[in-house]
């Protein structure tokens, strides 16, 4: 974290030393002093104020906290911040450019792939990882690739369409 002043996590409840971690988040190097038990998701949300990453469960099922860790999708509620030391993390805030949306974001908008939007950041990052690995997936492959991300609004139908839309757009972009 940066700035002239920052309150250190008040008197730690337990008598354990805090650790200094340095994580590249969305291209920026971020440094923080953390208790070992701090989850990466909580560091992102509360420490780094990147509140686009959500936590929806305690058991690694919902996938709302999905981020890219060294380019691979992981659930940031199931990783300690100390484990991320020295690594790269991409969150939803790092998906769009300054002026334009990422094709996956465009796809979700165009195909109405979100309703309340709570699962959406995790869905999009899981989709990004899929399309990097498999630029031309079938609908079935998309369904299986997103099976670690729960959505309660859309029935997944338009999420699948959104990812197919993005795949097409990204293929067209890389062809031109």
């Amino acid at each position: 974290m940066s700035g002239l002043f920052e309150e250190i996590h008040e008197q730690p409840a337990a008598d354990v030393p805090t650790r200094r971690v340095s994580i590249t988040v969305n291209g920026d190097k971020r440094v923080a002093q953390v208790e070992p038990r701090l989850l990466l998701a909580h560091l992102l949300r509360q420490g780094l104020k990147l509140t686009g990453t959500h936590t929806g469960c305690d058991t690694t099922n919902c996938g709302a906290c999905t981020v890219l860790f060294d380019g691979k999708p992981i659930k940031s509620c199931t990783m300690l911040a100390v484990q991320a030391d020295g690594h790269e993390v991409t969150t939803v805030e790092g998906l769009a450019g300054a002026s334009e949306l990422h094709p996956i974001q465009e796809g979700f908008k165009d195909e109405h792939g979100l309703q309340c939007g709570f699962c959406t950041p995790g869905m999009m990052l899981a989709a990004k990882a899929l399309l990097e690995e498999n630029p031309d997936p079938t609908e079935d492959e998309v369904r299986w690739a997103l099976s670690g991300n729960l959505c309660r609004c859309t029935g997944y139908q338009n999420i699948v369409k959104s990812v197919m839309w993005a795949a097409k757009k990204m293929q067209a972009q890389s062809a031109s």
């Binding site: 996590h9 008040e10 008197q11 409840a13 337990a14 208790e35 038990r37 949300r45 990147l50 509140t51 686009g52 990453t53 959500h54 936590t55 929806g56 469960c57 305690d58 058991t59 690694t60 099922n61 919902c62 709302a64 969150t91 939803v92 805030e93 998906l95 769009a96 949306l101 974001q105 979700f108 908008k109 165009d110 109405h112 979100l114 309703q115 309340c116 939007g117 709570f118 699962c119 959406t120 950041p121 999009m124 609908e139 998309v142 369904r143 299986w144 997103l146 099976s147 991300n149 729960l150 959505c151 309660r152 609004c153 859309t154 029935g155 997944y156 139908q157 338009n158 999420i159 699948v160």
Partner: protein, 793 residues
């Protein structure tokens, strides 16, 4: 009243205005919000399903690092208020006191017992472990039939009974039909079935969260941020039950995650946060974990249905008798007792039989309370009638679709007064059904089914039908009053035209994923002839939206949308007077078209709404007696409900060896009347169908014999993922509602209401040749296998 001046926006698949923020992480979920000086709260919850609290010692927790306060129910007994039930369905209903923090007794696992407020969340959670509670366990009450038996332990000892109420509808007494007892003797066919609506957990993805900023001294005001569907009702009840002046409470529902009825609640956690903030004099935030949500947020369904259907040998239904036992849980939430009543008027479905009786008994148990979950009462009703119509078809030996045709209301018979006493204003069941059957390839599938039966294929094919209707758009205040509901059903909207001609709309509905900002912009753009992008929709803050009844029961468009049309029309009529003045003619000579007022017969001179807004802003030259404003407010209270309908069909392969089922095709044709935004309507249908399928196949809240919720996380409460759900083919017919000027009907719950019986009917249809007549939901592989095994053995 002509609803629509122009019709360029309504009906268009506009992309959503809401999405840009949601897609980029620039959101304001309650848990994202940090207000200055904010403290964090954690709640200690009961590990017992039923116990007396002898003592609570919070002293060690209060002394723990970073802790600001720790307290228990006794400490705030005088100030914490109570949680209200708004629907005392009968005069003699048993209404137990529902305290936010338990004081002397806990009645379900997860009930709040004590609280820690600390400077950070981790310290608050850590300190919970230092609280000591001395409990005396009491006997649990879990089975609703046993709970009514003589000598059963009681959930509320002082009430002397576990029965909450019995509510009856009889078509003979109501004058809407005959006496069921009268058709028994003549019935050629009598079918009795018991269906069980398992307990479900709404499982909204965004956990609930609340922040309370207390008044800073005398005369100050409170701000409450909450992940709620009902900010207006929350404000009213907070004021009414804590004695806090209503005008001093501001409730904000910022970005709120769906919902599905699970956030149609005023919660212990909101009340406790309010008490905690008052106690420490600083803002307090509480965000639940999923494990807490599973035991504390209300559950849904949990009803035993005993049905008797009377019919003639040709398949004509002559009467229906329905007896329900509904599990209330330990306490009554805001509409807990009323949920079965919302189904009471729907057990007759789309059919026109002459006699109907309904009786529901609500029962207390030592479990988490039940309350509204998507569909609330209507999914149960639709499931029952659509399942038993299949049984009738089997009994008389005709195709299940044919038996429906013989009984349903024909399109030329609308408006139709039903045996349950409602008037269905419009519908066309034939059209929706024909379209759905074609999309599915019904006849081809029946042929394939016959071939598989012939060849003893281990994978059998079943075709499931659900021809549903439902009542929504809750609504008519007079009807709700007659049902003893505590509030009305109107909705409010206001429209203000800014000096530059841009439009601000304030709605009393409180969206949490439904896309009101987009749809409402479309409606107003048409009404005022302004561009879609020139409309801003404000909601979810009682300071801007001072009046409203919020979002649930598929009511927002069919009620709030009409209020919006009315408010827009008032603005248009005000503008007409001003435009006429500028055009130097009588208002009667001005017509409004293509976004502008023109003098009839001389189209060259025109004034737009924006011209009028600027004229009002300057106010230099207004006609006499015209106020210099171009804004309005309207409140709409409909005369009747809205009745969406449709036909859902699915084809399922059942693996007769493992009991696994696979939905091969799912087709739905819904009639939700006139459509404002087809993209949004389709999305609502998809999501609704997914939750309906989930009840049929996946979800069930399970308690052990001690009253512990075994399915207390997403690891155990199995929500379907993208890989578990089918591709949904959805289409529409459009029979406009005649009960409102837009011709719209609700769509939020229709999919959930329709889908469950379609799926279970398909499974039973596949296995009927073996003798299977029912599989209890959720139809897990084991239950399907067991159903087969029992009939084969």
């Amino acid at each position: 009243m002509t609803a629509v001046a122009e019709n360029t926006e309504v009906g268009r698949a506009r992309l959503r205005k809401e999405d840009a923020r949601l897609l980029t992480g620039r959101t304001r979920w309650t848990d994202n919000i940090a207000v200055p000086g904010m403290l964090h709260m954690a709640i200690l919850r009961s590990p017992h399903a039923h116990a007396r609290i002898n003592s609570v010692d919070v002293s060690a927790a209060a002394a723990a690092p970073n802790v600001v306060a720790a307290f228990c129910g006794k400490d705030v007994a005088e100030t914490q208020g109570v949680l209200a039930c708004a629907w005392p369905v009968t005069e003699d209903i048993v209404m137990p006191t529902y305290l936010p923090l338990a004081v002397t007794e806990v009645r379900h696992v997860g009930e709040p017992v004590a609280v820690v407020v600390a400077r950070d969340r981790a310290s608050a959670v850590d300190a919970l472990q230092l609280i000591e509670v001395d409990y005396d366990p009491l006997p649990v009450v879990l089975d609703i039939e046993a709970a009514l038996a003589e000598g059963s332990p009681l959930v509320h000892e002082d009430k002397g009974t576990n029965k909450c109420y019995t509510w009856v509808f009889d078509s003979a007494a109501a004058g809407s039909g005959g006496d069921v007892a009268g058709v028994v003797a003549d019935a050629e066919i009598t079918i009795k079935r018991r269906y069980v609506q398992q307990r479900l957990i709404p499982s909204f993805m965004e956990p609930r969260s609340v922040i309370v900023e207390p008044a800073a001294g005398e005369g100050g005001s409170w701000t409450v941020y909450s992940a709620t569907q009902i900010p207006h009702i929350l404000r009213f009840l907070l004021a009414a039950t804590t004695g806090t002046p209503e005008h001093k409470i501001r409730v904000i529902a910022p970005d709120v995650g769906g919902g599905f009825g699970g956030k149609l609640a005023v919660t212990p956690e909101e009340w406790i946060a309010f008490a905690a903030a008052n106690r420490v004099g600083r803002p307090v935030k509480y965000t639940e974990t999923r494990s807490e949500a599973m035991v504390s947020a209300h559950h849904g369904r949990d009803v035993i249905q005993d049905l008797t259907l009377y019919a003639k040998r040709d398949g004509t239904v002559t009467g229906l008798d329905v007896k329900l036992l509904a599990n209330m849980g330990a306490y009554l939430g805001i509409v807990t007792p009323g949920v079965p009543l919302l189904g009471a008027f729907m057990y007759n479905g789309i059919y026109k039989f002459p006699a109907y009786r309904f009786e529901c008994t609500g029962v207390f148990t030592t479990t988490t309370k039940t309350d509204a979950y998507r569909g609330a009462g209507r999914p149960e009703a639709t499931y029952a009638i659509e399942r038993i119509m299949d049984e009738l078809a089997a009994e008389v030996g005709i195709d299940p679709m044919e038996v429906r045709r013989r009984n349903w209301i024909r399109h030329e018979e609308f408006p139709f007064g039903t045996v349950a006493g409602l008037t269905y204003d419009s519908g066309n069941y034939e059209a929706a059904t024909d379209k759905a059957m074609q999309l599915l390839g019904y006849d081809e599938l029946r042929a394939e089914q016959a071939a598989r039966r012939e060849s003893n294929d281990p994978k059998q094919l079943g075709i499931g039908i659900s021809t549903y209707t439902e009542m929504c758009g809750l609504a008519p205040s007079r009807v709700l009053g007659a049902l003893r509901y505590g509030a009305g059903g109107w909705e409010s909207a206001s429209v203000r035209v800014l000096p530059t001609g841009k439009v601000e709309v304030v709605t009393g509905s409180s969206p949490h994923g439904q896309g009101h900002v987009t749809s409402w912009s479309q409606i107003v753009a048409d009404q005022l002839g302004v561009p879609f992008d020139d409309v801003e929709v404000l909601h979810g803050d009682t300071r801007t939206s001072h009046k409203g009844l919020d979002t649930y029961g598929s009511r927002s468009l069919a009620v709030g949308g009409i209020a919006l049309v009315m408010a827009s029309q008032k603005v248009r009529e005000k503008a007409r007077v001003i435009a006429a003045h500028m055009l130097e003619c009588s208002p009667d000579d001005v017509e409004f078209a293509d976004g502008a007022f023109r003098v009839k017969g001389s189209p060259e001179a025109s004034k737009t709404i924006a011209d009028c807004a600027l004229a009002v802003f300057a106010a230099h030259n207004l006609p006499d007696g015209v106020e210099p404003t171009l804004d309005s407010e309207a409140t709409f209270d409909p005369e009747g409900f809205s009745f969406p309908h449709g036909t859902h069909l699915c084809a399922i392969e059942v693996d007769t060896e493992t009991g696994e089922v696979a939905i091969r095709q799912y087709v739905c044709v819904d009639d939700v009347g006139r459509v404002v935004n087809p993209l949004i309507v389709e999305g609502q249908v998809h999501g609704g169908v997914a939750q309906g399928i989930a009840q049929a196949l996946y979800e069930e809240a399970v308690y052990d014999a001690e009253g512990n919720l075994l399915t207390s996380s997403f690891a155990d409460y199995t929500l379907p993922s993208s890989a578990d759900l089918p591709d949904i083919v959805s289409d529409r017919t459009e029979t406009p509602a005649t009960s409102n000027p837009l011709g719209v009907k609700g769509v939020g719950e229709a999919g959930t209401i329709a889908a469950t019986p379609a799926v279970v009917n398909a499974i039973v249809d596949a296995l009927r040749p073996f003798g299977v007549i029912d599989v209890q939901m959720p139809c897990t592989p084991e239950r399907v296998w067991r159903a087969l095994k029992e009939v084969i053995a």
